[in-house]
């Protein structure tokens, strides 16, 4: 989960997953949340 986000689901689903050729999970990351707000354009 990206820091500083107001919207954080209680049960964080997998956002991205990497599988090896055998189908085993190599790595995964939490949900990516994009939140546009009043400070749009300012990068944190």
């Amino acid at each position: 989960m990206t820091e500083g986000l107001a919207f954080e689901p209680e049960d964080e689903p997998a956002g991205w997953v990497i599988f090896d050729p055998d189908g085993n999970v190599v790595d995964s990351g939490g949900q990516t949340v994009t939140e546009a707000s009043a400070d749009a354009g300012e990068e944190n």
């Binding site: 689903p13 050729p21 546009a36 300012e42 990068e43």
Partner: protein, 150 residues
């Protein structure tokens, strides 16, 4: 995380205010954003509010440079201000890189207007050759990318 393209900010504002001839709303949002299926572009560098990152090259399968992921499916519409989850349909590619670094994405209209963008958590996500990178699809909050306006 601010994550809206500045050109899109203007499109939204102009489409919702009397900036058109004789005070009608300005340019209809459908025109500049495009009226065909939207796409997800993957980048090996960070996108910014001004420009997309460097798009991935064409991979072994599942990702073509210049096209991106183009069969996202119809996301559940926002209601009462809720976030929109993207994609509905799980997307993936098989890496040909050594590795392929996935850093950010851009949700892009068919008319090439960039919409929302964001970094992937834990980026750069290094995907070894032959491995599969997947963004989870689903309805609403189950989708891997959640887009909201606050």
């Amino acid at each position: 995380m601010a994550a809206i393209d500045q050109a899109l900010v203007s499109i939204l504002l102009n489409g919702l205010t009397p900036t058109g001839a004789a005070g009608i709303p300005g340019t209809a949002i459908g025109t500049p954003v495009g009226t065909s299926a939207m796409r997800i572009r993957l980048n090996s560098t960070l996108s910014t509010a001004s420009a997309a990152g460097t798009e991935l090259s064409t991979q072994t399968s599942g990702y073509t440079n210049g096209t991106g992921w183009s069969s996202l499916g119809q996301s559940t519409a926002s209601s009462s201000g809720s976030a929109v989850g993207v994609p509905l349909t799980t997307q993936s590619f098989v890496s040909n890189g050594s590795p392929t670094a996935v850093v950010s994405f851009d949700l892009t209209g068919s008319a090439a207007q960039r919409g929302f963008w964001g970094p992937f958590n834990a980026q750069p996500v290094n995907v070894g050759s032959g491995n599969t990178f997947q963004v989870v699809g689903g309805s609403g909050a189950a989708a891997g990318i959640q887009i909201s306006l606050t």
